[in-house]
């Protein structure tokens, strides 16, 4: 009996969401009476960084050292995960709720005839395996129970603080029937901005909207983000007119974020935008209109002209960082 975790990595560099998933799996394993936590890493990996998963709670890492798995195709990958789950009598399979997990978890759930809860924000509790997640675009929570013997869960990014302990995981090869011939998706290229944390994983986000009047005014937003170590985001109208790239659009039809701090500058706070930020732990709103609906959703607010407030805020942060 075990809890299996899928290791998501970029050329051997394990993603933060995987550490969260391993932490989560360790808690699930403990609640089930101390099951073994086994991680599964596919493709070209690095044994040292896999062994380090032990500090997050894994006791063993299974590897399939086949370069075919260096690109993403959910169909063959889900097959290997299901094989590993069966071979290790996994009761629970855990993913990070990211772009890979969103494609894999549903497939693995079907293969294992397992109930699936995506974007879990609580560790399963009670005899009925109750798991909480955000629903209605952050406007409510739902507690679900899983009725099947095997369960698949994906963990919402940035929902649990990372916990590091002691330990090294053993690394073992896993033999699978799946190989290069099973890959139907051919990845041509992957472009990724490497200098900032991706929005869905970001702990700090600085976001701006139409109040900034034009793309030429984003310099101060970027400066503010840089000094905080934050990722930049924007509202829908700003992405629609092309002031900012679409992948920065936060809201109901864009990216959902769950940072510790979300700073909104010159964004009125339409309900569709709030749907993407409702799970932020702390929200700061800077807007010259005191009636902007965003203030109702904010923890802290400054009523003032962004062009005056933001430069002062940057100065104040510089002093804070230097002190």
């Amino acid at each position: 009996m075990s809890v299996l975790v899928y290791v998501d990595h970029i050329k051997g560099t394990v993603k933060k969401g995987t550490y969260e998933a391993v932490n989560y799996a360790a808690k699930v394993a403990e609640s089930l009476g101390g099951k073994e936590v086994i991680a599964l890493a596919l493709g070209t990996t690095n044994n040292d960084s896999l062994a380090a998963l032990g500090t997050y709670g894994a006791s063993k890492v299974l590897t399939v050292n086949d370069a075919a798995f260096d690109t993403f195709d959910s169909r063959p990958i889900a097959k290997v995960i299901a094989e590993a789950a069966s071979a290790n009598a996994a009761e629970v399979v855990v993913f990070s709720h990211n772009s890979s997990g969103k494609a894999l978890a549903p497939r693995v759930a079907v293969r294992l005839e397992a109930g699936l809860i995506t974007g879990a924000s609580s560790v399963p509790s009670g005899d009925d395996f109750t798991v909480r997640r955000s629903v209605f675009s952050g406007k409510a929570f739902a507690d679900y129970t899983i009725n099947s013997a095997i369960k698949v869960l994906s963990v919402n990014p940035n929902s649990f603080p990372l916990e590091e302990g002691e330990g090294t995981a053993s690394v073992e090869a896993f033999s699978t029937s799946v190989g290069a011939g099973d890959f139907k998706v051919k990845v041509l290229e992957v472009s990724r901005s490497t200098d900032t944390v991706p929005l869905p994983e970001a702990e700090l986000v600085v976001s701006a909207g139409r109040g900034l009047k034009g793309p030429e005014n984003w310099g101060m937003v970027e400066d503010l983000a840089t000094i905080l170590g934050a990722t930049t985001a924007c509202s829908r109208p700003v992405a629609d007119v092309g002031w900012r790239p679409h992948h920065e659009h936060v809201g109901q039809t864009g990216v959902t974020v769950q940072p510790n701090l979300y700073i909104a500058i010159g964004i009125s706070g339409a309900i569709q935008h709030l749907a993407g930020v409702n799970n932020s732990k702390v929200i700061v709103v800077i807007n010259k209109d005191p009636e902007a609906p965003f203030f109702k959703a904010a923890d802290y607010g400054i009523v003032g002209d962004a062009f005056e407030v933001v430069p002062k805020l940057i100065e104040a942060l510089k002093e804070f960082k230097n002190s």
């Binding site: 699936l116 139907k184 990845v187 864009g254």
Partner: protein, 246 residues
């Protein structure tokens, strides 16, 4: 090209969310329902564009009761050719995927579209489940797709970037922003939609693997603490000492 688009209903984006029956059910009183935006704006419209470019038919499928017919008619008005409604109240994503798979098996669709997620339960589940049930490749979170012959070139969103790939039909794709632009049905489309076939079929047996126990509204946020615009240092202090986020 034989194209299938999976659509469903969701509460209007501005709907007030509340619950009834001891917080075990979504309260639909005074809630108007719309076609799930990612299904409509991106999946359906891109399917119609593919048909316009390469020929073929666009079928829409939904799982739900008679009240969904108006949403199905809207999809037909936008440009789908025919529709299937599986006459059952959806219980969970697996149930829905099983119904769609039961229809798609034997129909030999070249391409099956879903929206990336529904805006109510936000599960990101049906597309992947459907692909697995049909043993097809699944390209999720697609923001651009071109088709030549039977090969599609697709861009999909990944964390902090974009992945570009090719895949041969048949496959399942989940569509998001960038795939297409919203289309408003015109009067001719609305008139024609009335005469397009809408087939109602009964559901196949499928287990519900998860159950909803209870809903909860988030706690009311404490009212906003306003900081003097002349003194942003106070905000920095509050974020550091009180909120402890920097």
């Amino acid at each position: 090209m034989k194209l299938l688009v999976c659509i469903c209903k969701t509460p209007d984006t501005t709907a007030k969310i509340s619950f009834t029956n001891d917080n075990t059910q979504f309260d639909t009183n005074n809630v108007s329902f719309i076609m799930n935006p990612t299904d409509e704006w991106y999946a359906l419209v891109r399917a119609i564009e593919v048909k316009e470019q390469l020929g073929g038919t666009v079928t829409v499928i939904t799982v739900g009761q008679k009240d969904l017919d108006q949403i199905v008619r809207k999809a037909l008005a936008i440009g789908a050719d025919n529709a299937v409604r599986v006459n059952a109240e959806p219980t969970d994503a697996y149930f829905v995927a099983k119904q769609i798979a039961a229809h798609a098996q034997g129909e030999n669709y070249d391409l099956i579209f879903t929206g990336k997620e529904t805006i109510d339960y936000n599960g990101f589940m049906v597309g992947g489940m459907l692909a697995e049930l049909l043993d097809l490749p699944f390209v999720s979170l697609a923001n651009h797709m071109e088709i030549e012959g039977n090969t599609a070139t697709v861009s999909r969103d990944i964390e902090g970037g974009v992945e570009k790939l090719t895949v041969d039909t048949p496959f399942v794709v989940s569509a998001q922003k960038g795939m297409a632009e919203q289309r408003i049905p015109n009067m001719r489309g609305i008139m024609m939609a009335r005469r397009k076939p809408l087939k109602v079929v009964e559901p196949v047996a499928a287990a519900s693997l998860i159950s909803t126990k209870v809903y909860e509204l988030p706690p009311e946020r404490k009212s906003v603490k306003l900081v003097d615009p002349e003194n942003p240092a106070e905000l920095v202090r509050l974020l550091h000492e009180e909120a402890k986020v920097i």
